[in-house]
């Protein structure tokens, strides 16, 4: 099973040049707004005519030598940013629309059983999105394309839906592409990350590779997440010896992510009383482009990103003690 994509698209305002090969895996496509992420998915689906290129699924051409297989003949499941549920059909018959086999399997798997006779207007954003994802799955597609599948869902419900999507994709064992702009999602949702900037894939690989060898400032900023394993309870989330406060609701084993940009570094103990503040030591600094990434040892080893000017203002270098603080709202929890 593999999906080979090599697409060129020329428009007046932008161009897209993407080449990637997706096996039985999930590739997350990230990139700034307007980079062409959605357009790439639409090209693969055949909804957007490309200027030139090829798309092959297991050797079957979807697009070759300018002839394009109609979208309805391509075995794909697609979830759009907008759920596009048909308002005159209830949950069950929306899912049944293109289903191969019994749609009830998917209604159960996405916890929609009690909602199956509701109409889209009677559902919350998350319920609608779950229905849309279940509908795409019910086709048993050979390729899955998801465009920001979690963006319309409440933050606290995302981990659950993310896991449901992962389970479904794991069951299919098919090439899957997920577009997202959320760094935390990109780190946890897929096997590999493809970074699309200005219509070109600038880097593709596992999250670790992108973190250790970012090839652009955007990548460096995007994937340099602090990722910990923790145990969440009412008191907060325990990471090693430390307990951090978080605005996210969770309990039990979780992934804890903190964006390096959200880590503040101070010379003295910060004013007021931020709940997450500790004294650490700068272990190393590394300047990529105009950003300084510094690793700070302490109760929690953490990476902070500051501008060169910001570092100068703190006036500290490697080996110096600094105060570290992180807002509770920046400590993101996702169940493991």
């Amino acid at each position: 099973m593999s999906l080979e994509v090599d697409i060129t698209l020329e428009r007046e305002v932008y161009s897209l040049q993407a080449r990637l090969s997706v096996g039985q895996e999930t590739v997350v496509i990230v990139g700034p707004n307007g980079a062409g992420k959605s357009t790439l998915l639409r090209c693969i689906a055949g909804l957007e005519p490309s200027t030139a290129g090829e798309v092959n699924l297991n050797g079957t051409p979807w697009l070759a030598h300018g002839s394009s297989l109609p979208t309805e003949m391509r075995s794909l499941g697609m979830v759009f940013q907008d759920d596009l549920l048909l308002p005159h059909r209830d949950v069950e018959s929306n899912i049944a629309l293109g289903a191969a086999g019994d749609p009830r399997t998917w209604i159960d798997r996405f916890d929609l059983t009690h909602l199956r006779n509701r109409y889209p207007a009677e559902l919350s954003g998350g319920e609608r999105q779950r229905t849309a994802i279940a509908r795409a799955c019910a086709r048993h597609p050979a390729v899955m394309l998801l465009d920001e599948p979690l963006s319309a869902v409440d933050v606290e419900r995302r981990p659950m839906l993310r896991r449901q999507i992962q389970d479904a994709l794991a069951g299919f064992r098919i090439p899957a592409l997920i577009v997202t702009h959320d760094p935390a999602e990109s780190a946890t949702l897929g096997d590999r990350i493809a970074v699309l900037e200005n219509g070109v894939i600038t880097q593709i690989g596992p999250a670790e590779t992108l973190t250790s060898h970012p090839r652009s400032a955007y990548v460096a900023e995007l994937v340099g997440l602090n990722l910990y394993q923790g145990i969440a309870s009412e008191k907060g989330v325990r990471v090693g010896e430390a307990v951090l406060a978080s605005s996210d609701q969770a309990s039990g084993p979780v992934f804890v992510t903190i964006h390096p940009r959200a880590v503040s570094v101070h010379k003295r103990r910060p004013e007021g009383s931020p709940r997450n503040a500790w004294l650490g030591t700068i272990v190393s600094t590394d300047t990529t482009f105009d950003l300084v990434r510094m690793s700070i040892g302490g109760p929690v080893t953490i990476t902070a990103t500051v501008t060169s000017d910001g570092l100068a203002a703190v006036g500290a270098t490697t080996g110096d003690p600094v105060w570290v603080s992180v807002k509770a709202s920046e400590v993101r929890l996702q169940p493991r």
Binding site: A45, E72, D82, P87, H88, G98
Partner: protein
């Protein structure tokens, strides 16, 4: 200064109310007059000559509406998808039957589909006659009513969010399935409204029908023609048959409103 401006505004407001009131009275009064002047004691007897034409009107208009749906909806769909000069031209042509005096439409239909008309002569060789037949009455009302359906349906199709069709394609639905499962249900109200308008227009058609199809009782004599004929036998009969037409119009308007309201 401010008071004078306010006073002027008041005057304008009053003038608007007077104008609006006059318009409502002007529009409502003729129907009220029909009810007042109606020969209530002999109403059933006076209405009797109207029953057959009423039935014929309903049949003719319904057939015409079905034909308009079958050929008009695809036309409306293509118009809603396409752009360019030629499409503008077609859209302009659609307005011709609406703006043309109905009597002129009748003459035009005779020239085209009459016994000596260009198409009519050919049709007659294979045994299809439109002039002075019920089929002709259908042709006459179809000509004047179909554009209304096409324009209303096209407006509905244009409002359809294109994402729904793309979603349908990604679910493997072919063109017919997309039309049946997505387009028609989502634009149902516009289509119903258009069909209601077209049907009402067909029921009311007089000029084109009498010119092209004639006034044969039981064959082409529809309700408006019966009213016209009734007038020759006295105002009472004309009013009695007219009341039948009013009832039909109210029913049709209700259906059309229902379509709009559900939007």
């Amino acid at each position: 200064m401010r008071r004078r401006a306010g006073a002027r505004l008041d005057l304008a407001g009053k003038a608007a109310i007077v104008a609006a009131g006059s318009a409502v009275l002007f529009l409502a009064f003729p129907v009220v007059a029909l009810l007042i002047q109606a020969p209530w004691s002999t109403l059933i007897r006076d209405m009797r000559p109207g029953w057959n034409p009423l039935w014929l009107s309903v049949v003719v208009s319904s057939i015409a509406t079905v034909v308009a749906l079958v050929v008009g909806l695809p036309l409306a769909w293509l118009l809603s998808r396409a752009e360019g000069r030629r499409v503008q031209l077609v859209r302009g042509l659609l307005l011709v039957p609406i703006v043309l005096p109905p009597v002129v439409s009748g003459v035009a239909l005779t020239a085209a589909y009459g016994r000596r008309g260009m198409v009519g002569a050919l049709a007659e060789r294979v045994g299809i006659v439109f002039s002075f037949t019920t089929a002709g009455a259908v042709v006459a009302v179809l000509f004047v009513s179909m554009p209304l359906l096409v324009l209303a349906a096209e407006a509905g199709f244009r409002q359809l969010e294109p994402g729904y069709l793309e979603m349908g394609k990604t679910l493997g639905l072919g063109p017919w399935q997309r039309a049946r499962s997505i387009v028609l249900p989502l634009t149902r109200n516009s289509i119903l409204a258009g069909a209601g308008l077209a049907w009402s227009r067909a029921v009311g058609e007089f000029g084109a029908t009498i010119m092209f199809a004639g006034n044969r009782p039981g064959v082409t004599q529809t309700l408006p023609l019966a009213v016209f004929l009734g007038l020759e036998r006295g105002i009472d009969q004309a009013i009695a048959i007219s009341l039948l037409a009013v009832a039909v119009a109210v029913a049709a308007a209700a259906v059309t409103r229902l379509g709009w309201a559900g939007r």
